[in-house]
Structure formats: structure tokens, C-alpha cells
């Protein structure tokens, strides 16, 4: 892939305009239909029965009491559920074996005429099992910690360089398990029509759902249709097919009726992935001028036996972040008998950057340097990991622009010096970064003879505004207004496209939409501008456009600034101001872009102060399973928050010149907040979240108050 294989979308309205969401009205008036809003005639309802132990075998499933409930249709379990093919994802092999891999795994499914009846049945099913002691605790000495292939990198001689460094930082940071909790819990409505399977699913990518269902039910892909027209958020939890959709399809097969299954929120942490907790050791060796000579980032984390290849790739950003000749990264992972972790907004990058950006702040303090100058001093010329140039990298510009807006210039670096009554005030900064990837996609564009256009692509809009931005790309390419075309997305019957994930949706889909619309324009020109009676249709695929040799590292960057106030009497920390300045190529729609970046920053603030979960060693799952006990920041916790971006021109990305922005906003936020807490109080928060009791204790222990 080079900068020459694609033409650029003409830059100008409607691209780059704050076009309101095309589906906004449908959503606020309730006419937009989500997966569970579809109720085919004769639809039955299902409710899962979770495994009561962390590990063991189901020895008996007692169904009599459940089947005695009025409206009972069936209780499916491993002993009678339809056999499934292999979909290469063991979390999807539901009800295929009596083995229990983790607490909360679905061991039976109640199906009934109504939702209340299904719930009552599920409560009445009695599962007998032979438990086995589970392995639940991650420690640095865990005997099954391994370093998978590719999870390690080394350059130069880190141990010697670190040993010889004038200034050394060696610290361990920890992040608890974190849960995605999109507003819409996972849901699917499944229906067999003859030999065809039709599913409404709440998913970030229905093509992968179709492929998985086809493999599991041993069908051809074109015998399966999956619709994800509107999706109420995902944050990665809907990035791959999840067990609920398989269960719904299986139940529909078993009772020979359409079946709807909406997961109760309490089962999301066990069944739809989460950010596994990480223990991260960061070592930085520098000279007294703050030039980093040696950098090491080592991460211990875990996965479940059902997802043996998963790991939270927390060292990934460190590889490309700062210049240093001597480098080491290593990720170790242990299989524990816990629910399967998976993607959560900026997987890997978000976890890792908390540790690295905290360590950089510690280094700035140790070198008595301004943290922005420290970062500028360690800016690499090329990607230090691959030796390739960056397609564009404006981290330092973001830091400087942010410093101006935030009023950083007057900042006294000394910690625990600014008091307003019983509050200590401080400010902090951290960098953000995220890969800017592209995945092959196809798309179709159609011109009607009477005027008007239709653009079709199986992109997914999980609330981001993707539908709107794709319409803008199409309209700009065609030289028309967004109201002169129709955009159709969110169904596997449309041209195949990748998921809404990895911050690569808009780049990947947009490229295909641009290509289709560009070729359609040329075809119309060939007809001297007159669309023939049958209309004109162009279908394209970008696989070949993307296949060329890659010479560049492509990443977005940003800088986040936080001001906090910490109550010296109670240890309560509150973020007073949050500012993000980002460099993410061209911003295609400032309205939807702002809300993506803002949402990421709020989620990062929440990660710093309130979000926490526990892997309960007594039971083997997470007790914080609802939004009453899992504290996401509330509106009252988010005061002044400001988002800006630089005008970044990068011709080596895609026809739009854009980088993904769905995840960038959450990366680095937590470190900016905890660095500000250090500036306010002198207490270094290395274990998230910064909660009042621990912070107060640390302030007292340090004699700060």
C-alpha cells in the first residue's frame, strides 16, 4: 500500500461538515429497530442458565420443575442440544459438552412462550455438577505464565543500558478487570425459514456472525442472513460473534419457531468479553537530561481455556512510542479458569499506555523536567520498532497545542503545592496513540435513471455515525448532497465489509465507497451524463488496492491534559478539566468525531477514578455485574471537557486521508488523570482506579496532609 494507488475524495462539503446523524430522528423517536425489537410471528423467548461453579462437569440437568412452568417449551443442555460444527472459537461451541470452563458459562437454555415464563423456567432448572478446584489467581510466579510467539521484542542491550543509566524508573502498575457494558445488552432474534437461517443480531460485524453461524450449523454462507441495522454500542464486546446468537439459532432450530434471546446485563461480563486485568512493569533508564536510553515494558495477564490465543497486548504501543536504542517488551499470559477476556475499546493500547505514560511522568519528576519537554526530547525519527517512517506523526504538535489551550506554561511542577481551601489542585498530561489500519472491503453504488443514488455496503453503525459519514464520502465523490443519495448498511445481504472495530471501519468502508462511487461517476460520464433506463451499478472490492507493499507505520496521536482537585479530608479525586488534542488525519464529520473522542475520554476518566471489577476468588467470576455496582462516571463527574484536533494532512492513508478515532480518545486519559493526582498530592497512583480510601491512606502515609 503506498500513497499512489488511490485517488483522493474531493475535499469539501459535505465531507468535513458537521452533518447530523441520518438516523438520529429514527433513534430518538424509537422507530429504529434493534435486534430485540424484531418479533417474528410465533416468536418464543429464551433465557440462559449460567454455570454455578468455575470449573467442573455438569452431571445432571433436572428439567421437570422448569417444564412444569406454564408456557414452557424446552430446556436445552449439552445432553440434547443440536450438535454444532467447528467455528474456530470455543466460546461459540455452546451446550456441546458437560465440561464447565468458567462460572457463568451457559449450561442450559430455557425456551418458553413468553419472556417471564423463560425466566421462571431458567430459575427452576436445577444443575448438578461435580466441581473441580479452579485456578483463578494471577501472580508473577504463576507456573503457567507463558510468552506466546510474537509477544516479545528486544533491541540493543536493555539490561546493561538500564543498569548504566543515570536515572532509573522501575515501577509496577496494575489495572483491574474492566467491563464494556454497552447500553444495549447483546441480543439476537433467530428464525429458520426452510433451510435458511435469518438472524437479527446486535453485532459490530454481521459478516463474521454469518460465517460463524454457517460453520456451526454446517450451512453455506449464503444460507444465512444476519442483520445488524442498529446497534446500541459495543466497545468491542460485540466485535466477534458471541454465544447468545448461537444459542438463539440453536433454540429456534430445537423448538421450530423464531426465538429471541436478550442477555441479562448481569451475564455480559461472563459471556461477552472484558478487559483482563494486567500487571505491568515498566523500566526506563535515562540520562539526567531526560534522554531515554533503555525502555522495558513487561506485562502479565491471563486468558481463559476457551480463548487460548487471547491476550491483552499491552506492550504494543510501547514498541513505537519513544526513541531509545535499548528496548525490551514482553507479554506473558496464563490460562485461568475465568470468563473469556476479549476486546474492550483500544485493547492493549489503552492498558499499556496507562503504565508507560505514568512511568514517563515519574521520569519527568526524577529528571526535574517538564513532562512535555521530556516527551519531545524522546520523539523518534522513525518507528523505533520497525525502522519504518511514520506516515505522519504529530504527537509533539498535539502536546504543544494542548499546552497552549490548557494554560500549561505557568505550571509549577512541584507536587502538593496548590491548595484551595480543603482541596489540592494539580494538572497532568499524557500521550495518546492508536494504529490506523485498513481492511479490504467491498461496496456497491447504483445510479437511478430518474436521478438519485443508492450506496450499499455491509458496514455497521454502532452509534458512531458511520452511516452518516459514509453517505458524506459517497456524496463528495459523486459531487452531490447527502440528501441526493440513499445509504444502506447493516445486513449481510449487502456487499461484504469488515467489522466496526479496531478503529478501521470508516477508513476501510470509506475506501470501498469512494472507489465504487468514483467508478460509477466514470460510467455515468461514459454515458454522457445520462443514466440508462436500467440504471448503472458498480460493485468494487479494495483487496488489491491494499495489497501493495507497506512502507510506513500508520498511527494516530494525541495529547490529553487533566486538572484534578483532591479533597484532603476524604481523598475524593475529581476531574475539573479535561482537554484532548488529537492528530488523526482529516476529520470527516466534526460532530460525530467530537462525540467519539469525547466518549473515549470520558471512558478513560472513568477508568482512572471509578471503574473497577474484581475477580472473585471464591466464585471465579466478577461480582460487579450491573451498573449499580460497576461505576461508570456519571454526568456529574464530567465537568469541563474539551476536544480539539490538528489539521493533519497524510496522503498515505486512504482516499479520505483519515485515521480512525473510535479508540484514540480513551488511550492515555487515565494516565493524564493520575499524573494530575500526583501533581496535586504527591501520591503516585499505580493501581487503578484512584479511589478515596486508598488515596487518603497514601496521602496520610506520605505526611502530605
Amino acid at each position: 500500500m503506498t500513497g499512489t494507488t488511490f485517488g483522493a475524495v474531493p475535499w469539501g462539503p459535505p465531507l468535513g461538515e458537521p452533518v447530523p446523524r441520518l438516523d438520529g430522528r429514527a433513534k430518538v423517536t424509537g422507530s429504529a429497530r434493534y435486534a430485540a425489537d424484531h418479533t417474528p410471528a410465533g416468536c418464543a423467548h429464551a433465557w440462559p442458565v449460567p454455570a454455578p461453579v468455575a470449573k467442573g462437569t455438569v452431571t445432571a440437568v433436572h428439567r421437570a420443575a422448569a417444564m412444569a412452568e406454564p408456557g414452557a417449551l424446552s430446556v436445552l443442555a449439552h445432553d440434547d442440544a443440536p450438535r454444532l460444527g467447528d467455528a474456530d472459537d470455543r466460546t461459540l461451541a455452546v451446550l456441546q459438552s458437560p465440561r464447565i470452563a468458567h462460572r457463568g458459562q451457559v449450561v442450559a437454555l430455557a425456551v418458553a412462550e413468553t419472556l417471564p415464563a423463560a425466566r421462571a423456567m431458567a430459575a427452576a432448572v436445577r444443575i448438578e455438577c461435580a466441581p473441580v478446584p479452579p485456578d483463578l489467581e494471577l501472580t508473577p510466579e504463576h507456573p503457567r505464565l507463558v510468552t506466546p510467539e510474537g509477544a516479545e521484542s528486544a533491541q540493543g542491550d536493555f539490561p546493561a543500558a538500564f543498569h548504566g543509566a543515570q536515572v532509573r524508573i522501575d515501577a509496577v502498575y496494575s489495572i483491574p478487570p474492566l467491563h464494556n457494558h454497552p447500553m444495549e445488552p447483546h441480543a439476537a432474534t433467530a428464525q429458520w425459514l426452510g433451510g435458511r437461517l435469518v438472524v437479527f443480531d446486535s453485532s459490530q460485524g454481521s459478516n463474521a456472525v454469518r460465517d460463524a453461524l454457517a460453520a456451526l450449523f454446517e450451512l453455506e454462507p449464503d444460507q444465512v442472513s444476519v442483520v445488524s441495522e442498529h446497534v446500541g454500542g459495543g466497545f468491542g464486546a460485540k466485535g466477534t460473534p458471541r454465544p447468545h446468537v448461537v444459542l438463539a439459532a440453536m433454540a429456534a432450530m430445537a423448538v421450530n419457531r423464531p426465538v429471541k434471546l436478550a442477555l441479562p446485563r448481569g451475564l455480559l461480563p461472563a459471556l461477552t468479553g472484558y478487559r483482563a486485568s494486567t500487571l505491568q512493569r515498566v523500566r526506563l533508564g535515562a540520562d539526567t537530561e531526560g534522554r531515554v536510553r533503555a525502555i522495558a515494558h513487561e506485562v502479565d495477564t491471563y486468558t481463559s481455556p476457551l480463548s487460548p490465543d487471547w491476550r491483552e497486548r499491552a506492550t504494543q504501543p510501547t514498541r513505537s512510542l519513544y526513541a531509545a536504542p535499548h528496548r525490551l517488551t514482553r507479554e506473558r499470559v496464563a490460562p485461568l479458569d475465568v470468563p473469556s477476556p476479549s476486546w474492550m475499546r483500544a485493547p492493549g493500547e489503552c492498558s499499556g499506555m496507562f503504565a508507560v505514560e505514568s512511568a514517563m511522568d515519574e521520569l519527568a519528576v526524577a529528571c526535574a523536567m517538564d513532562p512535555i519537554e521530556l516527551r519531545a526530547r524522546n520523539e523518534p525519527d522513525v518507528d523505533p520498532h520497525t525502522g519504518r517512517p511514520f506516515s505522519s506523526r504529530h504527537l509533539v504538535e498535539c502536546l504543544r497545542a494542548g499546552a497552549d489551550r490548557f494554560g500549561w506554561a505557568d505550571r509549577d511542577p512541584a507536587p502538593a503545592m496548590r491548595r484551595q481551601g480543603r482541596l489540592l489542585i494539580g494538572s497532568g498530561v499524557a500521550a495518546s496513540t492508536y494504529p490506523a489500519e485498513v481492511i479490504p472491503s467491498s461496496a456497491r453504488a447504483h445510479a437511478n435513471p430518474g436521478g438519485g443514488f443508492l450506496v450499499e455496503i455491509n458496514a455497521t453503525d454502532i452509534g458512531t455515525g458511520a452511516r452518516t459519514v459514509l453517505a458524506q464520502i459517497a456524496a463528495s465523490t459523486l459531487g452531490i448532497g447527502v440528501d441526493e443519495l440513499e445509504i444502506d448498511i447493516g445486513r449481510t445481504d449487502l456487499p461484504r465489509a469488515p467489522l466496526a472495530g479496531g478503529s478501521c471501519g470508516t477508513a476501510s468502508w470509506g475506501w470501498a465507497v469512494h472507489k465504487a462511487c468514483g467508478e460509477l461517476s466514470r460510467r455515468i460520464d461514459e454515458h454522457q451524463g445520462a443514466v440508462p433506463a436500467g440504471g448503472l451499478t458498480v460493485t468494487v472490492d479494495t483487496t488489491e488496492d491494499l495489497a501493495t507493499d507497506d512502507q510506513y507505520t500508520r498511527r494516530s496521536f494525541g495529547a490529553q491534559f487533566a486538572e484534578v482537585a483532591v479533597d484532603v479530608d476524604t481523598g475524593e479525586a475529581r476531574v475539573r478539566r479535561l482537554l484532548g488534542v488529537f492528530a488523526a488525519g482529516r476529520i470527516l464529520n466534526p460532530r460525530t468525531a467530537r462525540s467519539q473522542l469525547l466518549g473515549g475520554m470520558i471512558m478513560g476518566l472513568s477508568m482512572a477514578l471509578t471503574e473497577t471489577s474484581t475477580l472473585d476468588l471464591a466464585f471465579g467470576d466478577h461480582p460487579e455485574r450491573d451498573l449499580a455496582s460497576y461505576h461508570v462516571a456519571s454526568c456529574a463527574d464530567v465537568r469541563e471537557i474539551d476536544v480539539h484536533w490538528l489539521a493533519e494532512e497524510d496522503s498515505r492513508l486512504n482516499p479520505m486521508g483519515s485515521k480512525g478515532i473510535g479508540e484514540l480518545g480513551i488511550v492515555g486519559t487515565a494516565a493524564a488523570v493520575t499524573n494530575a493526582i500526583h501533581h496535586a498530592t504527591g501520591v503516585r497512583v499505580r493501581d487503578l482506579p484512584a479511589q478515596p480510601d486508598a488515596l487518603l491512606e497514601a496521602m496520610i502515609a506520605q505526611g502530605r496532609i
Binding site: 430459575a123 449499580a628 478515596p692
Partner: protein, 295 residues
């Protein structure tokens, strides 16, 4: 599950007498959560929402008669002068949706030690009016809480209203939590000054099996204010007095370690809240000349 919908108070009492195990439902912000989480599955619900008088309040000479189902949002809007402590506490309950549905009757029915209306009711002085087909009785609020999530209601009784003393002086409420809204209190404290009788009232939340008053702290503060002539002079409360008051408040607590905080942190934070609210009410007292004789 049976769903009973009495049209008025008499019918409601009759329904409760006939179905003593039926669960009353007012705003439903506790009941529906419990049902949803499978914590209880009553065989009958008694819906109180058709009973108009439960949503009414009346201000008398000395007390406010607050219907059991007056939602928090109306307490905030309509009674901030008469019931300032309760209005402040109501502000911190849940979210706007919860404040539009939930009320004091439900908070008393649930009798959670973390319920936010309890500290201001204890501090202001209140009586809970409960009734059954057998008759009506008024229970001083401090006797209403009998254990963790237990109260003094007999199986056939319903809460009709709460008689709360009208504020005759400044009142404050403060709560510590892990975020700024939608949060169950780690600990909470309510304080009321009664200049007319030269007394003070306290209420402690989330630091004992039930909401409690700190009687010794109240008596100490009353005496200290009296002896130093501060009610008349409006002089500053000496730090030593505030400190001792806070210590006595903490002595009335019996907190536990739980997911929201440790017992040690709760004691510490409670002392902070006691000093803080004392500062606030005393500043207000001095500023507003609440019935204070001119010195």
C-alpha cells in the same frame, strides 16, 4: 403474581390485611430492582399509585405532613424551606428518573442503612404514621429502623405519611461516594440546628446496621454552645468543640468493611462530614440571625 390496585387508602389497608405477605409498591425503584434481580418473588403486589393522598403534603404550624409517596423531585422543588435537610438529601438520590419516582415512604419501607432520607429525618425529628385496619399509630423515626433492611411495620400495616418538624434553623446533609451521582453512600451525615429550643439533631447513614442518631454528640454540642454563650453571641465554634463533636459522632457509628469502603475509612470520613456540616450550619446560623437574640 397477583397485582392489587386499591383505589383509595381504605381499600389499600383492606388489601394489606387480606394479603399480609403482599409487597406494597410505590415508585418501585427498590421493589422492581429486587424482582428483576430475583431477590424476591412476592405472590402479590399492592400498587399504591392510585392513592392520591399518598402524593400530597401539607405544611402545619410545627410539622410538615409528607405523604409516603411524594417523589423526591417534588420535595426538592416544593419544600426546600420547610425541609431543607431532606431536600438536600433528596438532591443526591440516584438520577432525575429515580427522583421522579422514588420517595420517602419507599426509603423507609426498604429501611436500608444507606437510604439517603434517613439522616435528615433523624436530624430534623420525625414520626412515621403507619396504619392498618386495626388502627393508626405514630412511630418516632429513630424507633422505626429495627435492623439491616428491617423496620417496625407489622405485616398488615402500611406507611401513610411522615410528620417532620419544620425547620426552625439551618440544616445540612453530606454524603461521600465514589462518584458524583447515582451512588450508594459510603457514609452520610445530616445535621439540624434548632435555635428555638437550643438543641441540635444528627443522623448517620451507612455506618451502622441501621440509620442512627449520635445522642452523646448532640448533647455535647448543645452544652458547649450554651456554656460559651454562642447561641446568643453567634461566635465561632472553637475547633476543639468541633473536633470533640466529630469524635462523638464517630463513636455512635459501628461501620463494616465492604466493597464501598473500609470501616476505618468510613469512621474517618464521618468525622470529616460532621465537622464540615457543623461549619456550614453554624455559618448559616450566624449569617441569617435565625431567631438569635441580638447580642
Amino acid at each position: 403474581m397477583e397485582f392489587l390496585r386499591p383505589a383509595d387508602w381504605t381499600e389499600a389497608l383492606a388489601a394489606k390485611a387480606a394479603h399480609p405477605s403482599a409487597v406494597p409498591i410505590a415508585g418501585g425503584t427498590d421493589v422492581m430492582v429486587e424482582i428483576n434481580f430475583g431477590l424476591r418473588r412476592p405472590d402479590a403486589l399492592i400498587d399504591l399509585n392510585r392513592i392520591v393522598e399518598l402524593r400530597e403534603w401539607e405544611v402545619g404550624a410545627d410539622t410538615v405532613r409528607l405523604g409516603a409517596a411524594v417523589p423526591y423531585s417534588r420535595i426538592i422543588d416544593e419544600l426546600p424551606t420547610e425541609l431543607p435537610g431532606l431536600a438536600l438529601a433528596a438532591h443526591t438520590v440516584g438520577s432525575p428518573q429515580i427522583r421522579n419516582r422514588g420517595g420517602v415512604g419507599g426509603n423507609l419501607g426498604a429501611a436500608s442503612p444507606a437510604g439517603d432520607s434517613h439522616p435528615p429525618l433523624l436530624a430534623a425529628g420525625a414520626e412515621v404514621e403507619v396504619a392498618s385496619v386495626r388502627g393508626t399509630r405514630r412511630i418516632p423515626v429513630e424507633e422505626f429502623y429495627t435492623g439491616v433492611k428491617r423496620n417496625a411495620l407489622a405485616p398488615d400495616e402500611l406507611i401513610r405519611c411522615v410528620h417532620i418538624k419544620r425547620a426552625d434553623g439551618p440544616q445540612q446533609f453530606s454524603k461521600v461516594g465514589t462518584r458524583n451521582a447515582m451512588v450508594i453512600a459510603v457514609c452520610a451525615f445530616g445535621l439540624a440546628l434548632h435555635p428555638a429550643t437550643r438543641t441540635v439533631g444528627t443522623g448517620l447513614g451507612s455506618v451502622a446496621p441501621t440509620p442512627v442518631r449520635a445522642g452523646a454528640a448532640e448533647r455535647f454540642l448543645e452544652q458547649a454552645l450554651d456554656e460559651a454563650g454562642l447561641w446568643d453571641s453567634g461566635g465561632v465554634v472553637p475547633p476543639a468543640v468541633a473536633g470533640k463533636f466529630a469524635d462523638l459522632v464517630v463513636a455512635a457509628a459501628n461501620p463494616i468493611d465492604d466493597v464501598r469502603g473500609t470501616a476505618g475509612y468510613r469512621r474517618h470520613a464521618l468525622a470529616v462530614l460532621a465537622r464540615r456540616t457543623l461549619d456550614w450550619v453554624w455559618d448559616e446560623y450566624r449569617g441569617k440571625e435565625w431567631g438569635r437574640a441580638c447580642a
